[in-house]
Structures are given as structure tokens and as C-alpha cells.
């Protein structure tokens, strides 16, 4: 009995540490005021506005390819439409980088590297980091070539983050659907497990093996 408790206990603790919450791993934490966190999380109300703000402030250098948003010079290029008719709205990365090589290289000349595509940046960095970095790039990442475009505009930054979240994550309706699906699947498996167990008890009693 004590052995069972001991081995189950350490196994559960072990998997809790490595799979759920690693209390030993070092992680950098960034803070974000609650009112702006609320905006960044509310995809439904602010994603649209955030997209407009993105087009005004970020699109000169950054693309969001998964939303078919390309850097401004590409967006103005008539070739884009022809390509989109052929390959679909979201262009394959190799096609995009090959056809618009010159536009990307022009950006590389001014910034030292091609500014990254922001399709999945929300998933990589999280809203707190993005908020702090966009407001004061030099403070968070000294030496970065990202200009301080959004300094002093926290609310608009939060709206842009809401837009990036809407691109990276499934929509709220989709999330609800997935949650229902998850609860349904888990409930089904548990019910089936219990039924199987009860049925087994009955069969074994009949067989005299219980």
C-alpha cells in the first residue's frame, strides 16, 4: 500500500513538473497592465481595429502571411494579385520570397535583417512580451533594429496584439467548439470505462471468478 502511494506520488509529481508546470526552469516574466491585457485578449471587439492599426504602423516592414497581409511595397505591386489568383490568398513562402526578393532586400539594407513575419509571433512570445517590446524595443532587447514606432500608445499596441492573436489562435467560437468537443470526448471515455468495469463485474460473477 505505502509503496503504491509512493510510486504513484513521485510519478505524478514528475510528470507535473515536466509536462505542466516546471518550477525549476528559468523563465523571463513580463508585466502588462490589466486594462491593456483585457484589450489584447478581447479578439472579438478589437481585432478589426487592430488590423487597421497594423496596416498604418507595422505593415511597412512586417507581413502577416497567414492573414494574406504583405509588406506595403508588395501590397502595392500588381504582381501580387496575379500570384494570388494562381496560388491562393496565402502565398507559399518560397514563391513570396523569390518574387518579392528585391522588396525584402531593400528592408534588409535599412534594418540589417528582413523584419520577421508576424503570423505566429503571438504564440511564440505571448502578449506581455509583445506589449513591452513594441512600446520600448531598446529596453527589452538592447541593440534591436526595431524602431520605437508605438512608444506612448499602449492602447493601440494592445489592439494590434489582439489582431495578431486573432491570426495566430483559433477564433473564440472555434475555441468554444473545441472545448465542447473535448468535454464530450473525455466524458464519453470515462462513461465507457465505467460501463466496461461494471459489465466485467457481472460477467466474472457469472463465471465464478470474481
Amino acid at each position: 500500500m505505502i509503496k503504491t502511494v509512493f510510486f504513484t506520488g513521485i510519478t505524478l509529481i514528475f510528470f507535473y513538473i515536466i509536462w505542466i508546470h516546471n518550477i525549476f526552469a528559468h523563465r523571463e516574466k513580463y508585466e502588462m497592465p490589466a486594462q491593456y491585457a483585457k484589450i489584447a485578449d478581447d479578439v472579438k471587439s478589437y481585432a478589426k481595429e487592430g488590423k487597421q492599426l497594423f496596416e498604418q504602423n507595422c505593415q511597412a516592414c512586417h507581413s502577416v502571411r497567414y492573414d494574406a497581409v504583405y509588406i506595403s511595397s508588395v501590397q502595392a505591386n500588381p504582381k501580387l494579385q496575379t500570384l494570388q489568383e494562381k496560388y491562393g490568398k496565402v502565398l507559399p513562402r518560397d514563391v513570396y520570397e523569390a518574387v518579392f526578393y528585391e522588396d525584402l532586400m531593400a528592408l534588409k539594407q535599412s534594418f540589417g535583417k528582413v523584419p520577421p513575419d508576424l503570423s505566429t509571433i503571438y504564440l511564440v512570445k505571448g502578449k506581455e512580451y509583445l506589449f513591452n517590446f513594441t512600446l520600448e524595443p531598446q529596453k527589452v532587447l538592447p541593440g534591436t533594429s526595431m524602431p520605437a514606432v508605438m512608444t506612448g500608445r499602449p492602447e493601440e499596441t494592445a489592439k494590434i496584439i489582439a489582431y495578431l492573436k486573432s491570426v495566430a489562435e483559433p477564433s473564440p467560437e472555434e475555441k468554444n467548439k473545441r472545448m465542447l468537443m473535448g468535454v464530450g470526448t473525455i466524458a464519453y471515455l470515462i462513461v465507457m470505462g465505467v460501463l466496461l468495469w461494471l459489465w466485467r463485474g457481472r460477467i466474472l460473477r457469472k463465471m465464478g471468478l470474481h
Binding site: F14, I18, D94, E97, V183, I186, L189
Partner: protein, 403 residues
């Protein structure tokens, strides 16, 4: 109608006879404990990986330019329900390895590797090794930062042979490293060969080994938690329905936990850093292999000499393979072997601590802790012959077979 078709097939294929002889007349000990279900859970996990993997291959593109987008856009956003398949495959890989580890530790605890089951253990070890390779090759495919840099670090490990005194001059390590990558750097050729290995060659080898493993389990009979071979005709219970329904219920519980992770907690199985496309010019801050390799990685990392570290972590694997021969005691199962139980606990705790240490930054304190727990890990293996000798003494003193 269906019944008639069934009878028609049965008359020709004799399936019901096969079922009767292999499932019902096949007797197993009645006292099998919960950990015995890890074997069937591993089988279920393998089936899940194969099925979800087939669907993933339909949309995944093994090309350095499009691999990342095919995984994160086509699969995750464009095609309906493919997100679920990817979640299942990613979580499934981790669950598969977790269950296999639990299965291995169960085998060690109940001494299931002893005569007449040495061959089952050896084939199981090969499965474990091939499984690690499969996991490693699959990890590169999403072509994210972690995939890429994890493989850069892994492909560097064989080069530590070259820092050995004499054989280092032959540059064997570098050759292995180049052979792994298909060139001097990780690129299209690496991705192509890893894709090929991951989607058909390694799974086929796994399937073959799995069949041999299952056959051997049948041939030698299931071990007993008490460590005594039972007379199956008298004491055994029919495998079906006694075991099938019991383990079926356990598998339902296992799947419930599995789907909890699939739907609600994917942040470990699809880590944030891997949503960043692979960039050979940007080294991420913390590079460590996946959790199932961390214990070996910590052993490698804590030993100051590179070559010795390489030898040490390979020695762990070899000792695991040689377990049936290191432990030649006549007694079976930790239930009847107090000394073995103590060393088993030492072994479990050291492998867990080594894994957790692997997630921490390599400070001098952590390196020292790593060395200490490497020592205790090896102590388990080295203590086995000593314990066996002592137990032979007890066994003789009690007059052999009598309990």
C-alpha cells in the same frame, strides 16, 4: 445476413478457433497489478501514432521552405480537424514515450527481464531505442526553431568521440555527424531523409519488433507480481474476458487523460518556441532535447570530459540492455527482494532528478548535482551483481526452492 457472412468466413479462416485458443484458453495469473496495463497502453499509443501520422503525411510538405507553413497553416488552420490530428500526434508521441518508460520501470520492478524472459527484455530494449530515433526524427519535421536547434545539438553529440585520446584521430564522430545530417549543415537533405525514416522505415521496424515482442510475451508467459511462476492450468484466469475487460477499462481511463491534454493542455507538446520558423542565424536562448532524452543529456553534460560523458550516457543504455545478466539472483520481483527495492527506488529517483536537471540552466551546482545522481544511477546497475550474490546466499541457506 451478417451472421451468415461471418460463419462463411469462419469456416474457411478458423478465426473463432484462433480466438478460443489464444484469448480464452490462454491463462494468466489472477493477481496482475495496474502497472501491467502499461503494455497495452503502449500498444494503443502506437496505433494512435500510426493513424494520426497517416493523416498528417497527407498535408505535410517535407521541404525547408514550406514545411513550417504546411504544419502551422495548412494543418493547423486550413484543413478542418487537422489541428486535432496534429494535437493527437504531438501529445501522442509524448504519451507513447511516457507509457514506454513506465512499462520499462514496471518490468524492472517485477524483474520481468529474468529467465525465461531475457529475450523479451532485449527485444523491448531495441524497441525503446528505435522509438527514441523515431521521436528524434519526427521532432525535426515541423521545422521550427526548437526542431532545428535541437537537431543541431543532437548532431553535435557524436563528434565528442573525436576528443578521445587515440581513436579521436580517426574522426569517426565527425563522419557519423555528417552521415546523420547528410552534409555539413542541417538542410533539405536532412529533412528529406528524416521524413523518410520517420514516416515509413522506422515505423515498419517498430511494427516488426512489436510483433516479435508480443510473440515472446506469449511464448514465455506473463510474469507474476509475486515473482513465482504459477501453474497456469490450476491458478490462471482466462485472458478473455478477465484481462481484456480490465485492461480495456484502464485504457479508457488512459485515453481520457490523453484527450484532456489534447484538448486543454498542449503548451508542452507544441511548445511556444517551435512556432518560430527555423532560422540558422538566430540561436535560441535555451536549447535542450525533449524530456525523454534529458536524463542522458544531463549525464553527458555534467561529466567535464566530453568523451567520457559520451561513454557514460551510452553505458547507461548498454547497462539497461545487460540488466538480465547483471541481476542473476534466483529471486524475482521487488516484492520479495528488500535490497533490490531500495536500489530500485534510488534508480527511479536518480533518473527523475537527472531529467529535471536537464531542464535547468547548466550552472556549476547543477553540474555537481548531475554528477552525484549519475553516480547513484550507475550504483543501481553495479549493485545488482552484489545483491544477487547475497540473495544466492539466502536462497542456499533456506534450502533452495522452498520459500
Amino acid at each position: 445476413m451478417l451472421g451468415r457472412i461471418g460463419r462463411w468466413i469462419d469456416e474457411r479462416a478458423h478465426l473463432s478457433e484462433l480466438w478460443q485458443s489464444q484469448m480464452v484458453d490462454y491463462k494468466v495469473p489472477k493477481n496482475l497489478t495496474f502497472p501491467y496495463a502499461f503494455g497495452i497502453m503502449a500498444l494503443v499509443a502506437f496505433a494512435i501514432q500510426v493513424i494520426s501520422g497517416i493523416f498528417l503525411t497527407m498535408y505535410y510538405q517535407p521541404n525547408v521552405h514550406t514545411a513550417f507553413d504546411s504544419a502551422n497553416y495548412t494543418i493547423m488552420k486550413e484543413v478542418p480537424f487537422m489541428w486535432l490530428v496534429r494535437h493527437v500526434h504531438a501529445a501522442g508521441a509524448n504519451f507513447f514515450l511516457a507509457v514506454v518508460y513506465l512499462h520499462i520501470f514496471t518490468g524492472i520492478y517485477y524483474n520481468a527481464y529474468k529467465k525465461p524472459r531475457e529475450l523479451t527484455w532485449i527485444v523491448g530494449w531495441v524497441i525503446y531505442f528505435v522509438l527514441l530515433t523515431t521521436a528524434l526524427t519526427g521532432y525535426l519535421l515541423p521545422w521550427g526553431q526548437l526542431s532545428y536547434w535541437g537537431m543541431v545539438v543532437t548532431a553535435e553529440i557524436p563528434t565528442s568521440i573525436d576528443s578521445a585520446p587515440i581513436i579521436g584521430k580517426l574522426k569517426i564522430g565527425e563522419t557519423i555527424s555528417i552521415w546523420m545530417k547528410g552534409g555539413y549543415e542541417i538542410g533539405q537533405i536532412t529533412l528529406g531523409r528524416f521524413f523518410g525514416l520517420h514516416i515509413w522505415l522506422l515505423p515498419l521496424i517498430l511494427l516488426l519488433l512489436l510483433s516479435i515482442h508480443l510473440y515472446l510475451v506469449r511464448a514465455a508467459g506473463i510474469s507474476n507480481p509475486e515473482g513465482i511462476e504459477i501453474d497456469k492450468k490450476k491458478e490462471g484466469v482466462p485472458f478473455h474476458p478477465y484481462m481484456t475487460l480490465k485492461e480495456g477499462a484502464y485504457v479508457m481511463g488512459y485515453l481520457a487523460v490523453f484527450f484532456f491534454f489534447v484538448f486543454f493542455h498542449m503548451s508542452h507538446f507544441l511548445p511556444a518556441d517551435n512556432y518560430d520558423p527555423a532560422d540558422p542565424f538566430k540561436t535560441p536562448a535555451h536549447i535542450a532535447p525533449e524530456w525523454y532524452l534529458l536524463a542522458y543529456y544531463t549525464i553527458f553534460r555534467s561529466i567535464p570530459d566530453k568523451f567520457l560523458g559520451f561513454v557514460a550516457f551510452n553505458l547507461t543504455l548498454v547497462l539497461l540492455l545487460l540488466l538480465p545478466f547483471l541481476d542473476f539472483s534466483p529471486l524475482k520481483s521487488a516484492r520479495r527482494r528488500p535490497l533490490f527495492l531500495i536500489m530500485f527506488i534510488v534508480f527511479v529517483i536518480s533518473s527523475m532528478v537527472l531529467t529535471v536537471l536537464g531542464t535547468m540552466p547548466p550552472t556549476p551546482t547543477n553540474a555537481l548535482l548531475g554528477l552525484i545522481f549519475t553516480a547513484t544511477l550507475f550504483a543501481f546497475f553495479l549493485s545488482l551483481p552484489i545483491i544477487s550474490l547475497i540473495e544466492w546466499g539466502w536462497y542456499k541457506a533456506r534450502g533452495g526452492e522452498k520459500k
